[in-house]
């Protein structure tokens, strides 16, 4: 399926379930998402992590409503508990089956997002492992001078911003020297098609969601 259309559908789902209080709908979405993930050969261990990771925040939200809520506290507690899982599992149908390259290609080709945004973000994205390492380097360099840099130290962020400025200029220069011209028309090697089937899936999905929210009398 076209990545940006998938993202659109999932955004609509996430937004709409944020304003509903139907436990069964959330559970139904989780089950649908699990079926989708299994069909895409997601490993069971990954699914297990998806259940475990949100458990603490989900229990936190549950207890907040159960102890300090007003009105129907039990209902709201379970709504929020299942909503977290609906978010995580529907979100995983996107993040586990689509990579950032497909999404930026699709946004650029199908929705005419300027190429400089697509490739600029990709350039930065590919530096994630180096950035993680660099944070450790900054901390170690601080320690050598007896400075403990923690997440509340302005110096840590200052150094990170300095490196970002430096790298951003180098990267932009590297891209230009490889022939990237801002705002110039481009041809595409990787084609991302946007078909009528994609539109049909999104429209059907949204209609089914409305039926789930407004028509089905969940108990």
């Amino acid at each position: 399926m076209n990545p940006s259309m998938k993202l659109l559908l999932l955004l609509i789902i996430a937004l709409e379930i944020s304003f509903t209080t139907i436990v069964s709908l959330n559970v139904a979405l989780v089950i649908l998402a699990i079926i989708y993930l299994l069909a895409h050969r997601t490993r069971l261990r990954t699914l297990g992590w998806l259940v475990l990771l949100p458990l603490l925040p989900a229990i936190g939200l549950w207890s907040t409503q159960y102890i300090n809520g007003s009105g129907d506290r039990t209902l709201m507690a379970w709504v929020l508990f299942t909503r977290i899982y609906a978010f995580v599992f529907t979100g995983a149908t996107f993040t586990l089956t689509t990579d950032v390259l497909q999404l930026t290609d699709s946004l650029e080709q199908n929705w005419h997002m300027p190429a400089k945004f697509a490739y600029g973000v990709l350039a930065a994205y590919n530096l994630v492992p180096r950035i993680r390492h660099e944070v450790q380097v900054i901390r170690a360099a601080g320690l050598m001078r007896g400075q403990v840099l923690s997440f509340w130290s302005p110096q840590l962020y200052f150094k990170a911003i300095l490196i970002s400025i430096n790298w951003s200029q180098n990267l932009a220069q590297a891209m230009r020297s490889h022939g990237f011209v801002e705002d110039a028309p481009r041809t595409h090697y990787r084609q991302i098609p946007l078909t009528k089937v994609d539109w049909a899936i999104v429209i059907t999905g949204v209609i089914l969601l409305q039926i789930g929210v407004f028509v089905i009398p969940w108990t």
């Binding site: 603490l56 409503q65 102890i67 979100g91 302005p154 951003s168």
Partner: protein
């Protein structure tokens, strides 16, 4: 398309890099968050851990608005940070994107309210205040805050503003002071 023209490749990469750097630094707070959240859960106050640390997560937007003085930079900075986080280990998936837009736009409103002219205490405090209000409005629905008892709602709101002010105001100001003193910003814009 005039808006698009005012952005250069350097700026876009810079915003994305800052978002990722900050994300990498925040990883260290996950442990604090989890312990705090778990300790408060039996009292039904686990949201407090979120309220205390939320200011941190909103810093990229506020700083982006300060660093790159273009319309939309705060929103874009936070959105880019959220996009990368969504693909890199964030289990929250799509909602990360929504939060990114909400938080970034919240910060943006502060700069809009001060006419994109106050890159000082006034601008940062305004950004902290608007971010608090906008993100809180979203949590009323998303995290079911509208069903909470009033005293808790007020407590959350106050703690959230303090967090926004400490991280988005005090810490961001300290960082921007260091940047101003080093004169690095002139070379980028």
């Amino acid at each position: 398309m005039k808006w698009v023209k005012s952005w250069y490749l350097n700026d876009i990469i810079l915003l994305a890099l800052i978002g990722i750097f900050f994300g990498a630094i925040f990883m260290g707070t996950n442990f604090v968050y989890n312990v705090l959240s778990a300790a408060l859960t039996p009292f039904g106050l686990s949201g407090l851990a979120n309220e205390l640390l939320l200011g941190l997560w909103c810093m990229p937007g506020m700083l982006a608005g300060y660093l790159i003085r273009l319309k939309g930079s705060a929103t874009l900075g936070e959105l880019l940070a959220a996009t990368v986080e969504m693909f890199f280990g964030g289990q929250w998936g799509i909602t990360t994107l929504i939060s990114g837009i909400v938080q970034g736009f919240g910060a943006e409103l502060g700069y809009i309210a001060t006419g994109y002219k106050h890159y000082d205490w006034l601008g940062l405090t305004a950004a902290a205040a608007t971010t608090t209000l906008v993100t809180f409005g979203w949590d009323l629905a998303r995290n079911g805050y509208f069903k909470l008892q009033l005293w808790l709602l007020i407590l959350y709101l106050v703690v959230r503003f303090i967090s926004m002010f400490v991280f988005g105001g005090l810490l961001t100001k300290a960082i921007t002071d260091l940047l101003d003193r080093s004169h690095v910003l002139k070379s980028t814009h």
